[in-house]
Amino acid sequence: MTSFLTRIGGTVRSLVVLTGGMFLLLMKILRSFVPMACDSRETWRAFYKVGVKGFPIVVLTALFTGAIMVLQSGHYVARTGATSLLGWAAGFAVFAEIGPILIGLMFSGRVGANNTAELGTMVVTEQVDALRSLAIEPTAYLVAPRFLAMTLMLFLLTAMGDLFALVGGAATAKVMLDVPVGIFFQQVVDAQLLDEYWLGLLKGMVFGMSIAVVSCYFGLRASGGAAGVGRAVNASVVAAAISIFVTDYVVALLWGAM
């Protein structure tokens, strides 16, 4: 019995340490913007790397997401003949919910995991210690640029992704359900989804922030050589997935309350 309680206590304790550590890291990142201590060349490099690395995977995911949602609503459309449902399904579900979540998860796999691997390698090969010994603060030099880049880029990539999701949806509607492309886009416009569109972009931005904090946290805490880097990446993507769902819930609730 006591060992069981000890285990639960241990789990809760490590969870608290984890969230506390991430929160402190976030505070440290925000602190490095006032006064601006964030290295500008490193920031541009991070923008380029995150944006370019994330772009193909986000476009492909979005295309598939739009296609899948149209296919899934196809059953109802075929049964009732209500093509207006298509615009709603492709627009509402993709813009507000499934689009940001799938794009966020893929982005976390591509960019977040890559970031953890990179930082983890720097930590286990003592490059971060070298930075410190040169009086360069690792948070301002390494973490803050990535935070900025992921926040901004996931926002922009979600906007791009929404467009490609509609393209994928339109193509599927044409091929599988024989709905003309013009009518499909008319339905999307008629569904009046501007609010959902903004909600999706907001979600993208918040996901970018949480992926950045989580992936940097686990990267900076990697230890124990090659195996340690692998373990850090594993823990990082799991935590990033959970944080995506949790922040999604919080954003949806706050948005609903407004």
Binding site: L60, L71, Q72, L105, V233
Partner: protein
């Protein structure tokens, strides 16, 4: 561009080869002598993912119901079909697919990290030297364990998501459980389609992840890169399979 396509084709060929090797290894009964290894992997892949799946799928259920009801409230204040439609979508699409993505994230990266660090520390070479095939020893147990456990976790994920959704509907809109938890719309096609997806994800993820792990080069940098590749490729495989199987079930299972 053509180089990228050639590379992609090449990696697909290698993936196919690893799949064939693993499949023949399982058929030849390589697991009969490694039953304990299989149990260990099933525990690692299945039991240790339960908490993760519970957290993510319950939140997914809550958000979906919350947002759909918020939207429906504006158009038609008729909530009677929301529950059945939500349950149908969960069984057919979101339950298996989101579970699959979560398994790809957790298990895929775990397999790649583990196998990758074995490669860079030359443990895989040591296996080869002692005439034990890495496929028999490392890939086959994970392949079977992940296949079985993804199926189980998908079913569990659907249940968790539906329960969380019905609680949300009750708390925020006062929709009774009796009205929400109806299975009117669920057909056999939905169940078959969902289970087919879970099966496909379960057997694809370990192969994709093992492939990334076995091709690890270099030191800690290589392991990091392999783990990243495993997560991306496995999640992307899930999305592609989802599209293919959705199309298949739309055309075949429902006629």
């Amino acid at each position: 561009m053509s180089q990228a396509i050639a590379q992609w084709m090449d990696s697909m060929v290698r993936l196919g080869r690893l799949f064939r090797q693993t499949f023949t290894s399982v058929l030849k009964g390589s697991l009969r002598r490694r039953r304990s290894q299989l149990i260990v992997q099933m525990y690692e892949i299945g039991n240790k993912s339960v908490l993760f799946i519970t957290a993510t799928l319950s939140i997914l259920g809550m958000i979906s119901v919350f947002q759909v009801l918020k939207q429906v409230e504006k158009i038609v204040p008729d909530f009677s079909m929301i529950g059945p439609a939500f349950i149908q979508m969960m069984i057919r699409e979101f339950g298996p697919t989101i579970t699959g993505l979560m398994i790809a994230t957790r298990v895929g990266s775990g397999i790649a990290a583990e196998v990758g660090s074995m490669v860079v520390t030359e443990q895989v070479d040591a296996l080869r030297m002692s005439n034990a095939k890495p496929v028999d020893y490392l890939v086959a147990p994970r392949f079977v364990a992940c296949g079985i456990q993804t199926m189980m976790l998908s079913i569990y994920g659907v249940v968790v998501g539906v329960i969380a959704g019905s609680i949300t509907a009750y708390v925020f809109w006062n929709i009774s459980f009796g009205m929400f938890l109806r299975f009117d719309l669920v057909q056999w096609g939905d169940v078959v389609s969902g289970l087919l997806k879970a099966l496909a994800y379960g057997f694809t993820i370990p192969i994709v992840a093992s492939q990334a792990g076995l091709e690890t080069k270099g030191g800690s940098e290589g392991v990091g890169a392999a783990t990243t590749r495993a997560v991306v490729n496995a999640s992307f495989a899930v999305v592609i399979l989802d599209l293919l199987l959705s199309g298949f079930s739309y055309l075949v299972l429902y006629g």
